[in-house]
Symmetry: C2
Subunit: 332 residues, 2 copies
């Protein structure tokens, strides 16, 4: 996106923030929800905005559309996540960090039923499905947008709200390492830390509490590491047998692919995950050159230039041959 | 340290900054150096201050007291590091990030010979060996102090200087994860990014370029993982044979111990490194409770509460038994 686009987004965003605040002020029963398979950004953003609106004397319901991964159970007021009551009146529904209505899971029905729908997100693929849309792909995390919204409403960011926004930003930027991290991101982090948050406790919970099962799975998967095409492409495989041997589940495989990509000289890293005997999900990462979403698109998958995925229905060995043939086209 | 101590340090620091700037203004031939076994903070700090003083029309010499690890060779103006010429006149010597004169290696002699000696550091153990000492243990990195010094002199922080300070801070805070990271640290990072630095290139060079030899050694060492004392203590071993099999050297073992400590429930992590057949260096890490420097002190080693080391002269199996007996005392 060009600089002018960014300026335009910022300009429009300020208008939408005003509309958003107006809608919040005029609503009593406010529902918040985000996407299934929750992560740090959406859990942190929901809790932060939920807590803020509660201090604003609103009846706030944060809808639990999926299980909360245990890494995030340390967050303040995590019990604000509740099952929806279908009889509740909904003046306003706020969707956070969710690119389309379907990803809201059981939240979708409530979003449609609500009198007004606000959509706040930082994914470039967002479908602008709200009555009011604050979509800024230049924000490092939805947590950044929630931070600005709370400030603009005029609610004080207390220690608990700051903790949740910090978690949102830290997890969605890989602790300020991803390209999406801007000057603004650090300015916000500086402000959040000044609220007296316990960053050490956050870091231990987020990054220094890898379960022994996850650790075993990490090592077992990496022991399958194979480097081909002159050190430029790396594969690892994860089978159902390996999950059983480690007493782990597929979610425990998070982080393995980044470790593989981070090997010197590797341009494309690929993990093959056996979900069922002939159902292999692939995740691809690239470092500088190859657009891995192009490769995944050929198998009805998608994603971004540097991170993409797809599913191929065949046995794991055949899938490896199929995908390495595709990757080879970029290196011959 | 108490809050009053921090206020006093800040107050004194401002006085020392003034003296420091005065000394720089009155000197033509300025030598800079830091500790042996260089890291991101000292290399980044030296280059940043060196470049800044050059724009101030000073004759600047950055003394190379040790080899530069290849992770840092991408830094701008890395060739400013030179071997010292013993005949050069030295008006002013600036020591950065170095807690005592001995750690300057071949730089020590030049520091003693200089007309004036400035000592800028953030280690609490700093011996205040300079004529002017700017020592602030609350700074996350010496790079933070160099940032303030350059600003106070009135030199513009250009993109190259910003890149070097960013590397200093990022590496010494584990990308803003260590406890030492403050609001101030993030404010500085925000300013550095606004200078147009290429953070993606920095991150790839610093954190995403693990050599294949290092990767193999990581996996081989972690395959020796043993968890004892009810999941609270973990050991890994690294032998000379393993180094040979991976075509790696002992420096490639960096980072393994943190990975072990980061396992959920682990309080003490220990790596046993076989330097010679009966010479085992141990590194210990703890998470919350055990003071590992106490344990290492018993074997004439030392360090901090959460990170310490020692050497035991015996074969690796005996050493493991000796040290686990000591650790056991904390868990019985």
């Amino acid at each position: 996106m060009k600089k002018t686009d960014q300026t335009m987004i910022t300009k429009n965003k300020n208008v939408y923030f005003e509309e958003c605040i107006e809608a919040i002020k005029n609503s009593d029963n406010i529902f918040l929800a985000s996407h299934i398979h929750p992560d740090g950004d959406n859990i942190g953003s929901l809790l932060a905005l939920g807590m803020a609106l509660k201090t604003f004397n609103k009846n706030v319901n944060i809808i639990k559309v999926d299980d909360i991964p245990k890494d995030y159970l340390f967050l303040p007021n995590i019990d604000l996540f509740v099952e929806p009551n279908p009889k509740d009146p909904i003046d306003l529904f706020i969707s956070l960090d969710c690119s389309d209505l379907d990803r809201l899971g059981i939240g979708k029905e409530l979003a449609i039923k609500a009198n007004r729908l606000i959509n706040i997100d930082h994914h470039i693929t967002n479908e602008n499905f709200g009555d009011i849309n604050i979509v800024d792909p230049f924000a490092s995390a939805t947590g950044e947008l929630v931070y600005h919204l709370i400030k603009k409403i005029g609610i004080e960011i207390n220690k608990d709200i700051a903790t949740c926004i910090y978690v949102a930003i830290s997890t969605d930027t890989g602790s300020f390492m991803y390209d999406s991290t801007t000057s603004e991101t650090h300015m916000i982090a500086a402000d959040l830390i000044s609220k007296g948050i316990n960053t050490n406790n956050i870091i231990v919970n987020l990054y220094q509490s890898r379960s022994i099962e996850r650790t075993k799975l990490f090592l077992k998967t990496l022991n399958t590491l194979e480097v081909i095409f002159n050190g430029k492409v790396a594969f690892v495989m994860l089978t159902q047998d390996m999950l059983k041997e480690c007493n782990a589940n597929m979610e425990d495989s998070e982080g393995i692919i980044s470790f593989v990509r981070d090997i010197e000289g590797i341009e494309v890293a690929c993990i093959l995950k056996e979900y069922k005997e002939n159902e292999i999900k692939l995740s691809l990462r690239s470092k500088n050159i190859v657009d891995v979403s192009e490769i995944c698109f050929k198998f009805n998958g998608g994603g971004h230039k540097r991170a993409a995925g797809c599913t191929i229905f065949d046995n794991i060995k055949n899938v490896k041959n199929i995908i390495s043939d595709e990757i080879y086209k970029y290196f011959r």
